[in-house]
Symmetry: C2
Subunit: 395 residues, 2 copies
Amino acid sequence: MSEYPSLSVPPADEFFRSKWVEPPAGVEFLDPSRLPEGFRAGGVACGLKGGGGTDLGAVICDSEEVSSSILLTSNAAAAAPIRVCRDNLEQSRIKAVIVNSGNANAATGEQGIADALAMRDSLASATGLAPDTVAVAETGVIGVPMDMDAVLSGINGLADSLSTDGAVEFSEAIMTTDKWPKRVSLTVDGVTLSAQAKGAGMIEPGFATMLCFVQTDAVVTDPEALLRPAVESSFGRITVDGQMSTNDTVLLQASGASGLELPGGLLEAVLLQLALEIVSDGEGASRVGRAKVMGAADQEEAELVARKIANSPLVKTALLGRDPNWGRIAQAAGQALAGQDIGELGPDVIDAADIAEGGREAELTLSLDRGQASAHVYFSDLTHEYIVINAEYTT
Amino acid sequence: MSEYPSLSVPPADEFFRSKWVEPPAGVEFLDPSRLPEGFRAGGVACGLKGGGGTDLGAVICDSEEVSSSILLTSNAAAAAPIRVCRDNLEQSRIKAVIVNSGNANAATGEQGIADALAMRDSLASATGLAPDTVAVAETGVIGVPMDMDAVLSGINGLADSLSTDGAVEFSEAIMTTDKWPKRVSLTVDGVTLSAQAKGAGMIEPGFATMLCFVQTDAVVTDPEALLRPAVESSFGRITVDGQMSTNDTVLLQASGASGLELPGGLLEAVLLQLALEIVSDGEGASRVGRAKVMGAADQEEAELVARKIANSPLVKTALLGRDPNWGRIAQAAGQALAGQDIGELGPDVIDAADIAEGGREAELTLSLDRGQASAHVYFSDLTHEYIVINAEYTT
């Protein structure tokens, strides 16, 4: 596997390119447009984005046996589509999802809720589905009313164009300022799985939203029990700038058409690679770090310390500058455990050599002497481009 | 009062230049070299810094009636001088403090503790004080053994040079990469007070340390009860990059020579202005923001939300870019209260106009509808210079 040779979409057969991802045995990559049996997808341009880019996509599962799970941001000021999915959706029987990438429909008040419901109802009507089996996801500008004429006429055209090889079109229709689409289609042990994600880039800065959609023909009897830990070890372990979005959504749909179970570890590996693609394509990112903390008193402490290191602007700029500055790691760890005394942390317990010597992916480790727990968090470096993106474009 | 007309030391009589500081009534500014009765101070170059800059300073109180309070970082990986002050100091009877600004003496192990104790003992011996009445503060490079020959010979010269008008020399000897010294000497209602601080700049990046020393001839019977709330509302309310140092120290010493009490509000105003000088001179800072949260359920919640806003890189880059992006404030507040539901936060409850329209100091306010508590946090913007300082110099 090549380690991010270029900042662009990898060839389909180099999807698992991170050194931190163990590719599942026996994986065969498919044409990335291909969806598992029972699914159709597509993407169209409805005019929200301007410039003619595709900005409206949908995935639909035609199987009555569909099982699903959806995980939504816990941000206390969540956007309209999150509220609609939280309150008005049969979450374990989601047949379809409608996504727009031109308007986050966030901070849009009661009208925003009505608009998200109208999107849902429009796709349901055009595809003959019950409204409460259709999820809505949105990303883009915030605080701007939706252009519903454009969206509703786009949905009609989109519903007619959904196809079994529409995964590439869908993956591109959900992008905002991602530099490359994040997607994969593969088969292993008779089961097919495809997934599409978008990361922390915005039409206009404001909210950095991650969305991810996974389709499989496996039989998944308890989709939430499968999805939740896989998300916790992937999207739950990444940080670009420590900021939680109002719109984050991850959806898993299983058609059951293969009659087989999902091979162990497959979902985890796919989601982790997609998560790392998002970090790697984070705003201004040039390198990806993994902050690994060992010997913590318990799991909560290990995660707390790893997150504090990963979100430290001093560590993030050190990663950019290839400066194996263990003192900054010691400082962040000491801050995470403020009020306790963990002694001075020196180069005997901190390995930051990879910051200087590593490639695009660099590992830094801290060995505490407090117990047996460990945790890690993936993060991007902090660069001039991050500041250009976030300070020099005015919303 | 002019509002930071230039990034340099203000004229002595424009010390209270922040719009957020209420200058105490009747203040008369003194020559900034002047110390209150009972104090001597000074600064010398001992060679730690290279280039011949002064890097060793001391303040001594000659009164037997001295009362004092010292507040030390709660960082769990605290540096040697913090440990010495924590464990080996008569904290309410501190006669003197010895400070070096060339070496933080952090992550230096047992030898670092021995060196900090040797500095303390050396000043005590040269001035005839009991060792446990001498505090030690250090800032500068980390993980580097102390050059104790230079320090100890410097202390001998320093002890001979301490004078009643040595405050300017002291204020300059404690600087690291501060662009201007932070100091004031003033009198009000018969009481004299002087103070010196240094901020978040380092000889080499690694630890950003703030130090502050305050001297007064007032009678202070319970110095900790006076100092702690004043620090909480000043140095406890600022953030440059959210990183807590291993070396932070604030010391108040009162000689009692005036026989008068400290006028109410004076210490708070002086410390707040010094804190704002530190933010204003933070690494790469070009503007200072105040994130004010009102209508929170309780004090803890108000502070949590204000801190999350103040530390958001999206808000900090918006301050730089003069982008009154209320969506970023809503996102940060929503993240601070993740797992709860506070509804969507829109421009009706967020005032960010000052980001675009304000001067060097900009106020942003968020009005929640959850209770009566409020809090604010001061912060610097996130600039290209921050990244240059922290990524492009290698330690």
